[in-house]
């Protein structure tokens, strides 16, 4: 089985190596970003970024739940209510 994994790995590496190099990493590495530490001593940008990342994750999960609620649970509730009204009619 390992030969299969190695084979896949080699194939993927070959394919990826055909892509061009990243143009941004070089410049990002050369940036002097030490002063952001000084800035963060007064303005908590580090905390804000971390909070924002967490908030985005939570919002995505909330969106999925909203969609599930709308297209499954609401439909089921409508169906149950329709049955209830039908039985009421019979009675």
């Amino acid at each position: 089985m390992s030969w299969l994994i190695n084979l896949i790995k080699i194939l993927l590496l070959k394919m990826i190596n055909m892509l061009p190099d990243d143009p941004f990493s070089q410049y990002l590495a050369e940036l002097d970003t030490d002063f952001f530490a000084y800035l963060n001593w007064i303005i908590p940008l580090d905390n804000c970024v971390n909070i924002t990342i967490g908030w985005v994750d939570c919002m995505l999960i909330a969106l999925v739940i909203i969609l599930i609620k709308e297209y499954l649970i609401d439909k089921a509730i409508d169906f149950i209510l329709s049955l209830t009204s039908f039985f009421k009619f019979l009675v």
Partner: protein, 606 residues
Amino acid sequence: MSNIFKKILSFIMVVIVFVSCPLCVNASEHGGGGGTNHNPDFITDAGTINIQDDGVVMYYIEYILSQIGAVIVDHDITKVMANDQTMKEYIAKGKFDANKKTVEFPKETVVYVKQQLEQYAKENEPYTMYRTVPLTSIPYTAFNNQGNVYQSLKNLLADSSSGVVGVSFVLADGKFTFTDIGSHFKDVGLVKHYYDGLGYKAEVKAYEISTWKHATYPRYRFTMSADDAAIKDKEDFIERATETFTSYSEYIRFICLHDDVSIQSIDMNVLVTGNQVVNVLVSSDSRRIRVYNTYADFQDYTLGKRKVYYTSNYYNYVPEDLSVTIDDLQKTVDDLSKVIDELLKQIQDNTDESEIEELLRQILEALKNQQGGGGGTGGGDVNVDIDLSTTNGLLSKILAKVTQIFDKMSSSAGQTMDSVVTAIEDLGKMLKRQLGIISGDLDDIKDKLDVISEQEFTEKTDSFFDSTEESFSEISEVAKNKFPLSVPNDLKNIISVFTKKPPEPETEAYSVKGNTLYGMSTGDSEIIMIMEGSETYSSGWSDTGAPVFNLPIVLESLGWDYAIVVDLSNFGSIAKLCRTYMTLVYIWALLMLTIKVIGLWGELVD
């Protein structure tokens, strides 16, 4: 006008009634209630076969016999058979399908009808059909173990116009007697003659059909040794014959050993023992011949008083269920008399029995085809072109042409097709082989999984996933540096820039050294200082975790080497307060935003 119409109509109906009366009378001999609608008479109101009416039963019997291959001329035969209660019970086993208007007779009914006919024939027919001896059934010992004798007989058979020769063998001294009865076979009627002398059970005598006299033929004898060449034909035999006889009437004795005078299975080993001389009728295809029971029967037959005709299918008929519509059944039986008339026109006194059988078969086939294909032409004259040689020749040419065309097509495309087919077959074999290997591997895996423990399984899967992860981590490392797969990594790097934290207060990044020329303080420590020796100071963090900035002032021309150091340690608490407050404000803002966004989503989804 309407009165004239009514009169004409009445007149027509009267004519129809009077004309149909004789037809009704004629039809009642076979059964049926007269008129043109026989169906109700064949089937009762309850939907069963009508066996109460003997005429109807006769219809059924004659139809079944015609399908077996026997055509009844003398209806007294079927009348006797129809009168039999057991026969009626068998006929009653037929089932009528009201939807299809068909009657189906089971195999047992067909078998019984055939048996009854054979029984009748045995008791009442003037002759019995026997098979001649097929050449292939004669044991080699009868030929004195000489191949040239066998070959000679084979050649004589081929030369015979009727396909039948009369021969005798003497085992002891290799005598081979040949009688050219074959060419005169059509002129001869064979009659059983019981002869008790010499230990024979019975024999057959030949009589000339035209004169009713005993038939006489020349016979030739030749003693063949093992070195002699085989006889090529009749002329060669006559030329090489060492003895020539004029046969007496008693000569034509074809010995039958069985009590029932059957020639069907002569035991040649018994015949050719010792010096016994016997004559046998030999043919290449064991065809049947008539052997009359008595001389009087032979005479009657020659006067055309035959009661039953058989087709060549009769003797080889394999019983099976018969299904027919009522209309076809009636039509077939009604046409059988015409079939016999047609047959009698075709045959002559010297027509071979096998030829009669074949003729009748062809006539019946033609009748069947007429009924099946014509539909509305039933009841007409039966005209059959017995001479099918032209048709056969034409069909043979067509067949040859089609075969030629097909061969041409297949030869040009056949190779391609063959190669394609071969390739497909090879591919199929290869796939089968590979699938076999794979399924074998799967079986091995399954067997191993069956014996493996849970801990081993966990270890193996963990190691597997670890190795897989390690393999694919190399891929991720490479992918990080390749555009556009590196975009997420770049975004992460940008965001991480903003997340650089200030060091903890315990970390000592800076310590003031040197002389302080000037200082401005707000408390315990000084905020702005002018220090001597710029090289000894650098920007960093104070021991309280506050930033310290170093601004060097160096003028070599004036000899200035100073550094202005700004230390924000005294503002540590203010910075902490600022950070906390801004974090809280930011969180609050996100909360407000969350409410708005979710509300907006809700509206969008609705």
